[in-house]
Subunit: 322 residues, 2 copies
Amino acid sequence: MRIDFPFAAKLLAEHQRIQILCHRSPDGDTLGCAYALCRALQNMGKQAKISVDDVIPHSFDYMDDNIEIQEFEPDFIVAVDVANFDLLGSESYRENFRDKVDLCIDHHATNTDFAKYTLLESEPEAAAAAETVLLVLYEMGAEVDAGVAECIYTGLSTDTGCFRYSNTTSRTLRMAADMVDKDIPFEMVNKRMFETRTKTYNALETLVLSSMEMHFDGRCAMLSITQDMYRQSGSDESEAHPLKAIPRQIEGVLAGITVKEDADGSFRASVRTNAPLDASAICARFGGGGHKRAAGCSLPGKTLREAQDNILESVRLALEEL
Amino acid sequence: MRIDFPFAAKLLAEHQRIQILCHRSPDGDTLGCAYALCRALQNMGKQAKISVDDVIPHSFDYMDDNIEIQEFEPDFIVAVDVANFDLLGSESYRENFRDKVDLCIDHHATNTDFAKYTLLESEPEAAAAAETVLLVLYEMGAEVDAGVAECIYTGLSTDTGCFRYSNTTSRTLRMAADMVDKDIPFEMVNKRMFETRTKTYNALETLVLSSMEMHFDGRCAMLSITQDMYRQSGSDESEAHPLKAIPRQIEGVLAGITVKEDADGSFRASVRTNAPLDASAICARFGGGGHKRAAGCSLPGKTLREAQDNILESVRLALEEL
């Protein structure tokens, strides 16, 4: 059931032991929402904790200082930035939450209403779910201190490529200004999200860039990231995220594809597009989803080449439909 | 003589034929200021033109649509984002303007007061000179239409690395929000400033990255860009700008140096630092200047190695002084 801000605020206000769920492959928006909400609830004297069924990249460590670790049986479960039930995590993990998620606060137009109540501001209303969470906190009269502000800023900055992407609105920028006014170390956040190059990242980038393929008259660029590249560079998946932005940045490219090999030998695609190509449509053919300009999916295929050919075929169809 | 906003606005208001000067190696801030001011003045029925003693990178072409080309003898000359007289251009060019610059609108703490009147908001007051120019336009009651807003946004975004760097303030973000509210194509601006990769840029990047040297226990990273690299990659200097950001991004680096060979075989350094290292102090040893976190200078030395060793020695001294 879709609800409005006052109702969402009331639900959170009337519960005392709140568990917050993020999506798998957690990014700065789902984590920023979770940490901001957790801190704000703890500041109000409630018990709150965050659950993620995945490794949290080290770059987000700074948010740990904003919350206390609390253990309890929840009386209310809220998912943040989670578009569908499967994104919560592995099959065994997510079964713990089947029909048990009370509230979902999200900004994906593709949200499946898997929670009992859903507060949705879909793009272009909210560039980041952190915008919607911030408005819930304001609605609750919760204190937005520097700790909360740092986490909200992380969400805003992550989902807009630091206010670069077309999903950024003047509301996003004004919310960022309000967070910066709390004296948060925003330059540290942005350095961690977008700028820090480790030696292992540099080595990984060199390997990954050499995998670049151009297709369909330069309208599609594809990078591939394999387990072997992680081994050769001494890097790991947690450092691969910034590479996904590169293919779409090439002049004339409409579809920027990154095919990633998981540790179990299966393959996933990250799809970034330029207008008018729809990334979520390309991924929907394989049961994936996301936004118009950024989406993801698992890929069929036993070899890297098979997986690459599968996603390329979906890109080809999408380009033909233009 | 230092002046305030009302005085600067009055000077511009009472003149009719205004020439606007940018600094050499023009970037998005000096050009954004010039185009914004030129359009606003033309909108007010005045004559206005921009002079730059350098090639303007193609990435800024979009701003040309915002102004009309007008030829006239100026009755007032204003320099924007220009810290000292030498930055105006070559010796023969700048001699045309000796003792003739009426007003300088700038945000460099190192401004030498070379103009008759100087309106200075030095960092951290103004992250970009475009902030100061926008406030002058507001003070004049000038119309900030979408054309003006696009140019001001270009300045704001350029000098803050798209709102990433520590010089960004909540004022910068709110001004950006106000410009976005004018329905400007800000994502196009940011793509051109930060994201577009041409094939020749990719080739240049690969060559330049292979020149990376680490010095002083990893506290200094140095890239070099030679004329030979431009020839090999089919690229040119206008594409080199984004590379200068890379050395500082490496983990643990305080001084990120890029040594560039000019067409005449001379060398220049771009210096980017992380706190607490002062980039302008490193460049001051060679008569250069800039900001605390980003500065530049010409380098003595007949060979690349000599030029590199000269700037490294200045970095070594600065690191010792910490």
